[in-house]
């Protein structure tokens, strides 16, 4: 069976290897350029002791081409799922080659297990090779911009691309086994992969673990460790209730991110009407308001996922996708075993 699987997939394997080689060439060439640029910048700022202001200096790192390839790498799992996963069972059913295979001396379960096993392994290697290249390429950018926890950067690096790739392929296999036709299965892969990815990255990811919330004084400054993902922040009253208010009017005076109209009346009185507009209130006004808010028990807060949890989040997200992939494979086995020959 392994030999048969290799014969069925050797052309695809050659094409995939070629695509990977092109991708690796672009990533390596632009990556070495960017690493050299980064070393020069670091050496320069270490000499002048200005490395702290590097992030705000509008440093542009890396080429547009390399960056575009890193973004394109997010499509790689869907590509594998649509072009390799979806036809795996569906095309056998369409071409009726499954009938021939099933009339031989091996069971359907064996036939399916070997095909699915090798293809899922190939999907993991595909996702892993691309993720390794992109993770290496992003090193200087991660250090300079500290944005590796943000959506899109989190999704290109580390462990999760491997799980995305396995999931997309399992989705294609299962959709093909249930629908028995290749094109609808491809459509399911595109829609299902994008839908699942968006749902988890936009709605669920930041709630994998309870965020860390730090309270600090109304006049103080607090920054989460560099690279952490900030969920929310602002002003909270004595009871811990978040102070909010409607925005939209540019004349509103903002105190610690809350509109002055939602502050206690005693503190609002301290703000003159002239404080509105783009220039903002004077320092004297601000200090008076801060004192008033402090007396009323107000604090600022910041909720964030610290950067130290990055690998834990990668592990959780990869685990979710692998669990869903396992469920999809179980559905595939059920559908194939139940099918009339």
């Amino acid at each position: 069976m392994t030999w048969l699987t290799w014969r069925q997939y050797r052309a695809q394997a050659a094409v995939a290897a070629l695509v990977l080689a092109v991708f690796a060439t672009v990533v390596l060439v632009t990556g070495f350029q960017m690493a050299a640029q980064w070393h020069t910048l670091l050496a320069g700022c270490t000499a002048s002791r200005t490395c702290a202001s590097l992030q705000e200096g509008g440093t542009s790192l890396g080429s547009v081409l390399g960056h575009d390839f890193a973004i394109l790498s997010m499509l790689a799992p869907a590509l594998f799922g649509a072009l390799v996963g979806a036809p795996l069972v569906a095309h056998e059913f369409e071409a009726r080659t499954s009938d021939f295979a099933w009339a031989q001396s091996i069971t359907r379960t064996h036939w399916l297990a070997v095909k699915v096993g090798w293809v899922l392994l190939a999907a993991a290697v595909w996702g892993g090779a691309i993720a390794t290249l992109v993770t290496w390429w992003s090193g200087p950018r991660n250090a300079a911009f500290a944005n590796v926890f943000q959506a899109n950067y989190f999704d290109q690096q580390g462990l999760v691309p491997v799980a995305y790739s396995v999931f997309a392929t399992a989705l294609g296999i299962a959709a093909g086994a249930v629908l028995r036709r290749t094109l609808p299965a491809i459509a399911i892969v595109i829609g299902g992969f994008i839908g699942m990815r968006l749902w988890i990255s936009q709605d669920l990811r930041m709630h994998f673990m309870a965020p860390v919330t730090t309270f600090y004084g109304v006049a103080a400054n607090f920054n989460a460790p560099a690279g952490s993902a900030v969920l929310s922040g602002g002003l909270a009253d004595k009871t811990g209730q978040v102070v909010t208010g409607s925005s939209g009017n540019v004349m509103t005076v903002w105190i610690d991110g809350a509109p002055s109209t939602s502050l206690p009346a005693a503190c609002q009185q301290l703000i003159p009407a002239s404080a509105g507009g783009p220039a903002g209130p004077s320092n004297a006004t601000l200090n008076a308001v801060y004192g008033c808010l402090q007396k009323a028990g107000y604090r600022q807060f910041l909720s964030y996922q610290p950067i130290s949890r990055w690998w834990a989040f990668q592990g959780i997200e990869a685990g979710i996708y692998l669990a869903v992939a396992a469920a999809l494979i179980a559905i595939t086995f059920y559908a194939v075993r139940r099918r009339d020959a």
């Binding site: 509008g58 547009v64 575009d68 590509l79 072009l83 094109l183 595109i190 925005s247 939209g248």
Partner: protein, 341 residues
């Protein structure tokens, strides 16, 4: 023949119509909300005469989720090419149904003309409906952020999505005619579409028409009117050659209005640097340094495509993609006419 085409595609047409209806419902509901929010903000800022300071940092229109969905419409043409264009001929060849069709009373050319004609028309209609919804939805955001000409925004609004949809579908049809198998045709369609779009949008679009360069004195600023597409900004010396600015700026800076780029004092002639002294510029030394830079003939520049060229660019880009599509359809006709039955 038209009846055959309808029978072949009625299921796909029903699914497409359902997806379009769902998309339209989301866009219309959130679009009406964003428009009313925009009108009330405009009314408020007109009353207080602060519309000049209205920007995307103080006002957020619409929802993040729908904003994502709108950006994802970039992928609609590729999906049309993959799921409708590529199988049009390839699937007939794979299953041998073309042989049945070609032994009836219609000629191959008529068979292909009707099939390809209806499909390209449907692709244009779907691309046009999605683009019309997105264009309408983006109205307030375009007015607020003045970014309709920027890469990424330009590509999902106006008439270019129609050109992309027709091109991707024609690419799929021709790839299917040449390769005679659906899956390789899908892979070629996806790769070809991304490659052609990338080349035109990264390399060619900026030079459809000669860019305008405006010069302004050091110390003041210049911003092109309306939704212009800024291609570059910087400073030139007396000889007209651009000054080379360091990649990150840590020292004192003058100006700063040229597309956000300031002119570091360290890039000025030595005579002007002496006037600046060490450390921060005071009001007096700032003016001295600015006059010195002006006396040395240093000017700022902004290179851009003016906002009024937006529709010309839309027309040129749509024309390019429609011409490419026409060439591809000619190739498909040649291949089908010459193919052995």
């Amino acid at each position: 023949m038209s009846w055959v085409v309808w029978r072949q595609y009625r299921a796909a047409a029903a699914i497409t119509a359902a997806l379009l209806a769902a998309f339209a419902a989301l866009i219309v509901v959130t679009g009406v909300q964003a428009a009313s929010q925009w009108r009330s903000s405009l009314a408020a800022c007109t009353a207080s005469r602060t519309c000049g300071s209205l920007s995307s940092s103080t006002l957020f229109l619409g929802s993040h989720a729908i904003g994502f969905l709108v950006i994802m419409t970039l992928g609609v043409p590729a999906v049309l090419g993959i799921l409708a264009g590529a199988p049009l001929l390839a699937h007939e060849f794979e299953t041998g149904t073309n042989q049945y069709a070609w032994t009836q009373s219609v000629t191959r050319r008529r068979w292909l003309a009707v099939k390809a004609g209806w499909l390209l028309l449907a692709a244009a209609a779907i691309g046009g409906i999605v683009a019309a919804l997105v264009t309408w939805w983006s109205g307030p955001n375009n007015a607020l952020q003045a970014n309709a000409f920027n890469p990424g925004r330009f590509d999902i609004m106006g008439i270019v999505p129609v050109g992309y949809a027709v091109f991707a579908t024609a690419l799929g049809i021709t790839a299917g005619a040449l390769m005679r198998r659906t899956l390789p045709a899908i892979a070629v369609t996806l790769a070809g579409f991304i490659a052609v779009r990338a080349v035109i949008f990264i390399e060619l679009r900026r030079s459809f028409m000669t860019a305008v360069t405006s010069y302004f004195p050091v110390g003041s600023g210049f911003a092109p009117v309306g939704s212009a597409w800024q291609l570059g900004a910087g400073f030139v010396g007396a000889n007209g050659q651009p000054l080379i600015l360091p990649p990150s700026t840590n020292g004192a800076v003058i100006g700063g209005a040229a597309g956000g780029i300031g002119l570091p004092v360290s890039s000025l002639p030595a005579a002007c640097q002496q006037l600046a002294g060490n450390g921060r510029l005071t009001r007096a030394t700032y003016h001295a340094v600015v006059s010195c830079a002006q006396a040395h003939g240093i000017r700022g520049y902004v290179t851009y495509q003016p906002a009024w060229r937006y529709w010309a660019f839309q027309g040129i880009e749509t024309g390019i993609f429609l011409l490419l599509a026409a060439a591809l359809v000619v190739v498909a006709f040649a291949v089908v006419s010459r193919r052995d039955a």
